[in-house]
């Protein structure tokens, strides 16, 4: 391997999307980091906040419209139930390879020692508070604090 390159020691992962396919990559990367002994911080912002909301985190959906890689005509993707169907299919496949539902994944990532944070600006914009979030959320922080917490880390925006 690349012996001369410094290994990654810390990552800061921003999750800004609220679709199922927008949330999982960040969660898998955060969990994967901890599995490799890399420190991880996860920062949820904008629609990404849905992933840490008590009432919404297990209802995230796959977007079936506006995504050419779904290989589905836009009008077909817009039919009622299409998104629910695609979501159910994807969840089934994920379960097969032991990828947990979002709520359980957050618990796992938090138990693994990663910090989980919500973006203050979005929280204010959507009129939310800590009471709306799952207990794994450590704190609501502003962007300045995000950079502080990210000292020495690679920042990954998803």
């Amino acid at each position: 391997m690349s012996e001369n390159l410094a290994p990654i020691e810390r990552v800061s992962i921003v999750i800004s999307k609220g679709s199922l396919e927008g949330v999982y990559p960040g969660l898998i990367m955060a969990n994967g980091a901890r599995m490799e002994g890399i420190e991880a911080t996860v920062f949820f912002t904008f629609f990404g906040l849905d992933a840490i909301m008590k009432k919404r985190h297990n209802k995230l959906k796959v977007a079936t419209v506006g995504n050419p890689a779904m290989h589905m005509p836009t009008l077909l993707g817009a039919l009622p139930g299409m998104s629910a169907f695609a979501t159910a299919m994807m969840k089934k496949e994920m379960e097969k390879i032991d990828i947990p539902p979002v709520g359980e994944f957050l618990e796992m990532i938090h138990d693994a020692g990663a910090g989980i944070y919500a973006c203050k600006a979005t929280v204010e914009m959507f009129h939310l508070s800590m009471a709306d979030f799952v207990p794994q959320v450590d704190e609501i922080i502003n962007v300045g604090k995000f950079y502080e917490l990210s000292a020495g880390a690679q920042i990954i925006f998803t």
Binding site: M35, D98, M108, A112
Partner: protein, 105 residues
């Protein structure tokens, strides 16, 4: 393929230091591998993990994920990270005499 003599047994390893033949494994080998991973003493908790991993491997043919260790093996994720710091799934699999876990979770 490197071969090392540990506790009087000839043990086969791959290039990343994982054993290639789980049948060569014994508890003395586990202790030596644990020390190489920075774990000076294997406690009851460590053994619970190691034994579960080996049992599960017999059934599934691959080392379990962290989720499986939790759900099926009853090992809390927090404890796992505490007992095997800096890479629990990989470290525990190596000490248990199995190959490197290949999954993403």
């Amino acid at each position: 393929m490197p071969v090392r003599e540990i506790a009087g047994v000839q043990v086969d390893f791959d290039d990343e230091g994982f054993m290639t033949n789980p049948d060569q494994w014994n508890e003395d080998i586990a202790k030596v591998l644990a020390e190489e991973e920075g774990i000076s003493e294997l406690t009851e908790g460590h053994w619970k993990v190691i034994n579960f991993i080996r049992e599960d491997f017999k059934e599934k043919g691959q080392p379990p994920t962290i989720r499986r260790m939790n759900k099926v093996g009853g090992i809390p994720t927090k404890d796992l990270y505490e007992w095997f710091p800096k890479g629990p799934a990989k470290k525990a699999a190596r000490i248990a005499g199995l190959g490197k876990p290949q999954g993403c979770v």
